[in-house]
């Protein structure tokens, strides 16, 4: 079974009363990409529909779960600091983000 839908995943085009913040550039896993002030690092990492933010010590895939900084599942290496909660860390111009494996290796 394959999930089919008209909708493109990621940033909504229907902004319903909001306007995105200024565009910035960040690096995710070595690739430069656009992001917007006001976005969480988690959202920036998932923009291309890759919901896997890290793999655990046991090798399992994890993504955003609680979305409020409480569950510590959406961890990534942000500006060289591993285990950073991406759902409550906000994108900044020039930020370097890496998906992490295990206890914090890239």
């Amino acid at each position: 079974m394959k999930a089919r839908s008209r909708r493109t995943p990621g940033r909504l085009t229907e902004l319903a009363g909001l306007q995105r913040g200024p565009r910035i550039r960040v690096t995710v896993d070595g690739r430069e990409q656009d992001a917007y002030v006001g976005e969480s690092v988690a959202a920036v990492m998932m923009a291309d529909d890759d919901l896997e933010l890290r793999s655990t010590i046991g090798g399992a895939a994890r993504g955003v779960f609680c979305g409020m900084g409480a569950c510590f599942d959406c961890l990534a290496i942000v500006d060289d600091v591993p285990n950073t909660r991406t759902c409550v860390t906000w994108a900044k111009d020039g930020m370097v983000i890496q998906r992490q494996c295990g206890a914090g290796e890239p």
Binding site: M1, S5, R7, E14, Q19, P22, L51, A61, G63, V64
Partner: protein, 487 residues
């Protein structure tokens, strides 16, 4: 030992309860500090757009946002001092108040003193353990709401919503407005029957707005052709490193899946909304007394009618004391704020009583509706029985239900289970697994869930970098030496 900052009142949590408590105290002339981990006031319920986003038109953001926005503006214009992106990570009782250690992002921690502390920690989604709940693409209702409402971001293409309670109607309807493709919305409880509706209406005298909301959500689902199915529960999520399929099944009255009723649907996003559980870390750390009410989210802090906890000079208000919604939270904030002002000696008792009366009256009325709703949407015990042996229960330390069962067979002490399995030792400190482990212990040893003591709370409440804690000014207590003189 504090760093020189002194307050009459420290309010923890910038949601509806915290904002109203802080404004009540500050309006009475007390030096008041309000701290919250988020970048903006409003809390989980009045989620404000991320700092950087601009509001071009308030109308599509909904009545709740507008109401919250006005409240945030009032709080910002008041005498309340605020510290955003700031967590209280430890509290220590002093003779005449409390020291609280504040952590702002990764900056060095600072310790402030407050004569009285009002805890309004709010709630988080009730964690439900089922096979596949750790897969990317499984997200809590609160988490998805944050992404959509504050960042206009929607992961995945096709979504299943699984939950129960009023949220099960409200949230998918909201998401549908944003163009979410919702394959099916599952409600574990029954469809409301005429008797329930009548009871709700009875309890709803003066709560018409809430009933109107419910009706609107239902209409929203119909408009977006979202199939809403009652008495069905999430059974598992499947997929290779992300959700690809969602399996759901019919449940009995206790929310136990009925064999042979499983259905599988293709989806890449599974949103979970089985109600909320109060955030208890700080309340537990101060040593407050607790009761347990599953309908209100599990353990609930014990309070008197002035929202005083059993710990000296500590008050608690809002969903963090038992989940009853934002309107009760606002009124509780008023009551707690007035109590702190009165207890500080800044307001005579009879004036406090008069000032609190309208809020207390509204709380009573709304509580009646909350209780009626809770009866309709009672949480079935089957919710704690969905995991199989290989299901990871402790997400942080990757401890499976099988690992836990092995140890739980030999002990009913959750501290021993923690010590021998590492479950609950990770960075989330057991927030997402301890209730499930307690339920497992309860089942194995035939003990009521409400009577199982949780493991000891530990500071820091949030992980903090070593450099942000380290303080060379603290003197080494010196070497271990024998007391002087011959022992």
């Amino acid at each position: 030992m504090h760093d020189g900052e002194r307050y009459a009142v420290l309010v923890v949590g910038g949601g509806p309860a915290g904002m109203s408590a802080a404004m009540t105290a500050a309006d009475a002339g007390l030096r008041t500090l309000l701290v919250d981990e988020r970048p903006t006031l409003g809390g989980q319920v009045f989620k404000q757009p991320g700092l950087g986003f601009a509001v071009t038109d308030g109308r599509p953001l909904g009545a709740q946002w507008r109401y919250g926005h006005r409240m945030v503006q009032r709080a910002e214009g008041s005498a309340v001092m605020t510290a955003m992106r700031t967590a209280v990570i430890d509290v220590e009782e002093q003779r005449d108040g409390w020291n609280a250690v504040l952590a702002t992002d990764d900056a060095h921690t600072r310790t402030v003193f407050a004569s009285r502390v009002i805890l309004c920690p709010g709630a988080h989604d009730r964690p439900i353990v089922f096979p596949g709940w750790t897969l990317p693409g499984v997200i809590t209702a609160g988490g998805l709401q944050s992404l959509v409402k504050t960042q206009r971001f929607m992961p995945g293409r096709r979504m299943v919503f699984a939950g129960s309670g009023p949220v099960a109607l409200a949230f998918p309807a909201q998401l549908a407005e944003f163009g979410a493709d919702i394959v099916v919305a599952l409600e574990a409880g029954p469809a409301p029957n005429a008797a329930d509706v009548a009871r709700l209406a009875g309890a709803a005298a003066g709560n018409l707005d809430l009933l109107i909301d419910a009706a609107r959500y239902r209409a929203g689902l119909l408009r977006h052709r979202v199939p809403l199915r009652y008495r069905r529960i999430i059974v598992r999520a499947e997929g290779d490193r992300r959700v690809e399929r969602v399996v759901h099944a019919a449940v009995d009255a206790d929310w136990r899946p009925i064999a042979g009723t499983e259905e599988t649907v293709a989806a890449d996003l599974l949103c979970i909304g089985y109600g909320f559980a109060p955030s208890l870390e700080l309340l537990r750390l101060i040593g407050a007394g607790f009761d347990d009410d599953e309908a209100l989210g599990g353990p609930t802090v014990r309070r008197d009618r002035w929202c005083r906890t059993t710990a000296a000079r500590i008050y608690a208000a809002g969903d963090g004391t038992g989940v009853e919604g934002s309107k009760v939270a606002i009124d509780e904030g008023v009551v707690a704020g007035l109590a702190a002002v009165m207890d500080e000696g800044s307001l005579p008792e009879e004036k406090a009583v008069a000032a609190a009366a309208p809020a207390l009256r509204r709380i009573r009325r709304r509580r009646a509706l909350a209780r009626a709703t809770a009866r309709m949407y009672h949480v079935g015990r089957g919710i704690y029985g969905l995991a199989d042996e290989s299901t990871v229960v402790c997400r942080c330390e990757e401890v499976t239900a099988g690992d836990l069962a092995h140890v739980i067979a030999t002990t009913d002490d959750i501290s021993v289970v923690k010590a021998l399995t590492r479950a609950g030792m990770g960075p989330c400190q057991g927030r997402y697994c301890s209730r499930h482990i307690s339920a497992m212990i309860g089942r194995e040893h035939d003990i009521a869930l409400a009577t199982i003591a949780p493991s000891t709370p530990r500071m820091p409440v949030r992980p903090v970098p070593i450099a942000a804690i380290a303080d060379r000014a603290v003197t080494d207590p010196g070497l271990f030496t024998a007391p002087s003189g011959n022992p």
